[in-house]
Subunit: 400 residues, 2 copies
C-alpha cells in the first residue's frame, strides 16, 4: 500500500497546527578539513535549544546518493514519493516563472541555439544571449499560430524560454528535439501513443520558428525538451485533511505548493515579510509550508559565509515563529547545497521535529554531526509528514 | 519478493531456541521536560547488563508516525507485514474473548445502542449499560435462528458484544450498519461480490434483534461493524520451521499467536506463573512468544510509576529466563504506550537482541535514548524475526 493511502485512511481533523520550515539547501560540507559545515559554523542558539527538545536526524530526500532537484526534494517533504510523482522539465519551467499552467496544457523547456548552414547545431546556448535578447525573440515567436490551440512563449533567462500549448486532447508524450550535443541537426519528434497530433503541431511550430529566427544569428534556431503536463497529484487536503498555506518568495516554490493544493499566501520578498505573512494567516490554516531561499542561493554561489549569515538570520527570527504556538515544528531542507560544491548535492539534510509529544533524543545542537546521532537516524523525507501528523494528534490508530 | 518467501527458502531446522519477550506498550515518554521515560526511570540492572552484550535499536512496528493496534503490532514482531496481513475488527473481537473462530466463520463487533421512535440512533453505546445487562441481552439475542447457519452471540464488555455466523459459503465483505454518528438510522448492509446471501442473513438477524430488544430501552437496538473472516496467514512453522509456543495471560494475545500457528501454553495470570509455564515447556518448543500485559495497562491508565514498577518486576525475573539458556533473546514491545498520552502511540520501541553471535554495539543500558544510538538504529519490526533466525543459526546462505 502507498503511504498516502494509509494517511488518507488514518488522518482526522483536529485543531492543531503544523509548520514546516524548509531552509533551502540547508545541508552543507566543511570547507576546511575537519572544519564545521555552514550550519555547524553558524551561531544558532535558538535552533540549538529547540533541537534539544526535538527528535533529530539526517533526511534523505529521494534516495541515498541521489542529488534532488527542487521539485522531488519538495514533493518528498510533503509526503509524496518523488520516484512515483515526477514533474517534467517543461512543467517545472512554467512553475518557475509563475505561469498559470492548466491541467490540459503541454509545456516544454526551450533553448535558443545556433545552427550552421546545413542546420547542424554548433552552439546549444546561442552564445549565451542576454535575457533582453531572449525576451525580444520570444516576442517574435509569439507571432506563430497553430490551428485549434493557444500558444504561449515566455522568456525564462538568457537563452532559455518556455513553450506551452493549450487545447483539448494534447499529449506530453513527445521526445526532445534537443540532441544534447553539437554537430548534429535538431532531432525530429517521436510521438507516444495518442500524441501524433501534438507532435505535428510542435513540428510545425519549430519549422516556423526556424524561419522567423533565420536572420537572428547566433540565436537562429530553437531546441525543445521535457514536454510534459501537470502530474495528477492528490492534494494535501485529500490526503491529510489539512488546510495548507504556502509562504515562499520565489515562483518555483509557490508553483510546487500549488501543485499539492496549497493556498499561496502573499509573502513579500524578505524573511521578515515572510514572518509577517505567517502571522497574518496563522488562524486560517492547519499546515504552513515556509520556504527560505537564500541559503540555497549562497550555497550555489559558493559563498560559505553568506550561507552562515542567512542561517543565523533564520535563527534570530525563530522565537517569533515559536511565539505563534505551533503544535509541530519541522526544520529541514529540500536538499543540501554545500558552498564547497556550488550546487545541490546528495548529502542528507539535518532535520528536527519538535512537538510536546515527541521524545527528545539527547541531541544537544542543530548540525549535521549532531543530527547523525538523533533518534530519527538517517531517514527518508517521506517519513516527515506522517511523523508530523502523528505528533499533531491527527492520525487514528492502525488496526485494533 | 515477500520477506516471508525468503525466510521459507532459507530457514533450516536446528536445536537452537529463540525467546521473544514482548513487554506490551514498552516505549514511553518523559512526564517532566527533560526527564526520563518509564523505561529510563526504572531500575533495571539485568536488562542494562544484557543490553551491553546485545544489539540495540528503536523498533517501528508498522511505519513511522503510525500508532499500531495490538494486532498489527504483534504480526510485525512475528515477521508478517502488518499492511499486507490485516485483521478485521470482528475477528479481533472474537480473538479478544477467546472465541474459537473457525476459518469459514464471519465475525462482527456489535454495540447495543439506543434508537428513538423513528428508529434513529440517539446513543451509540446505549447509555453504557453494564456488562451484566449486556450479557443478559446477549442471552436474549441467542434465540434468533437463521436458516442454514449457526449463530453465536457473546458478550464482550458493557455495551459491546460479538456476533459470529458459522456455515458454508459465508462472506465477510459486508459494510457496517453502524453509522458512527447519532441522528440517523442504522445503515443498510451493502454486500461485496458473492456476499449477498450473508448480507440477507445479517439483515434478517438485525431485524429480529430490533424486535426482541424493543422493550429494553436504552439498549433497544444493535449496531454491527468490522465484518471479517480469519485472514489466511502462513504459520510460523511453514515460514520459519519453528515449533512455536505462546505464553500470554490475555485472550487477545493468545488469539493472535494462534493465528500464526503457535501452540497456546497454559500460562496462569501472573508474571511468575508465566515464567513457570516457560520452564515447564522449555524442552518442547523452538520459539517462545512471551507476552507481558501490565506495562500497557499501566500506560493506558496514565500511571507512570506503575509502569515503572512492572518493568522493574520483569527485570527481577530476567535471570530466571537467562538460566534456561536461550540461544537468542529479544526484548521489545508491540508498540509504545506512554503514560503521558494514556494510549498506544507511534513512538518507536526500545529493543535489544541478544545472542552469543550478535555484535554488541556499545550501548550501555536499556532505554529509549540509549537504544537510539544502537547498531540496529531505527528499524522496522519485521526485521526482528530474520535477525533472530540468523542469530539462532537457522538460516542458510542466500545465493552462492
Amino acid at each position: 500500500m502507498d503511504y498516502l493511502d494509509l494517511m488518507r485512511e488514518l488522518s482526522i481533523e483536529a485543531e492543531t497546527k503544523i509548520l514546516m520550515l524548509v531552509i533551502d539547501g540547508l545541508g552543507g560540507l566543511p570547507i576546511a578539513k575537519g572544519g564545521p559545515t555552514e550550519l555547524e559554523a553558524a551561531h544558532t542558539p535558538n535552533l540549538d535549544a529547540l533541537a534539544a527538545q526535538s527528535i533529530c536526524g539526517l533526511c534523505i530526500p529521494v534516495a541515498p546518493g541521489i542529488t534532488p532537484g527542487s521539485a522531488p526534494g519538495h514533493l518528498a517533504l510533503f509526503g509524496y514519493d518523488p520516484i512515483r510523482y515526477r514533474i517534467g522539465r517543461g512543467v517545472l519551467s512554467a512553475l518557475g516563472i509563475g505561469f498559470d499552467l492548466q491541467p490540459e496544457d503541454v509545456a516544454a523547456r526551450g533553448n535558443f541555439c545556433t545552427v550552421d548552414g546545413e542546420g547542424k547545431v554548433i552552439d546549444r546556448r546561442a552564445g549565451r544571449i542576454p535575457t533582453e535578447k531572449g525576451t525580444e525573440l520570444c516576442n517574435l515567436l509569439r507571432k506563430i499560430e497553430l490551428p485549434g490551440v493557444e500558444v504561449f512563449v515566455e522568456p525564462v533567462r538568457g537563452y532559455r524560454f518556455m513553450l506551452v500549448l493549450r487545447g483539448d486532447g494534447l499529449s506530453g508524450e513527445l521526445s526532445d528535439t534537443d540532441p544534447q550535443r553539437v554537430g548534429v541537426k535538431p532531432l525530429p519528434i517521436s510521438a507516444g501513443p495518442g500524441a501524433e497530433r501534438t507532435a505535428e503541431l510542435v513540428e510545425r511550430w519549430v519549422e516556423e520558428a526556424r524561419q522567423l529566427l533565420a536572420g537572428h544569428y547566433p540565436a537562429n534556431m530553437v531546441l525543445l525538451r521535457g514536454f510534459s503536463k501537470l502530474p495528477s497529484i492528490p492534494t494535501m487536503e485529500e490526503v491529510y485533511k489539512l488546510k495548507a498555506g504556502a509562504i515562499a518568495t520565489y515562483p518555483m516554490y509557490k508553483g510546487l505548493a500549488k501543485l499539492v493544493g496549497m493556498d499561496i499566501l502573499p509573502s513579500g520578498e524578505t524573511l521578515e515579510e515572510e514572518i509577517q505573512a505567517l502571522k497574518s494567516n496563522w488562524d486560517n490554516y492547519d499546515f504552513f509550508y515556509f520556504h527560505i531561499k537564500k541559503t540555497d542561493s549562497a550555497g550555489e554561489d559558493g559563498d560559505f559565509d553568506r550561507k552562515v549569515s542567512v542561517i543565523e538570520h533564520v535563527d534570530e527570527l525563530l522565537p517569533q515563529i515559536m511565539e505563534l504556538g505551533p503544535d509541530v515544528l519541522i526544520v529541514t531542507g529540500d536538499h543540501s547545497t554545500p558552498a564547497q560544491l556550488r550546487s545541490h548535492s546528495w548529502h542528507p539534510v539535518p532535520t528536527m521535529l519538535w512537538s510536546p509529544h515527541c521524545r527528545p533524543d539527547g541531541v544537544k545542537g542543530f548540525g549535521e554531526r549532531a543530527c547523525a546521532s538523533g533518534s530519527l537516524g538517517r531517514f527518508p523525507a517521506t517519513d516527515l509528514m506522517p511523523l508530523a501528523m502523528a505528533n499533531a494528534l491527527r492520525l487514528t490508530k492502525y488496526g485494533a
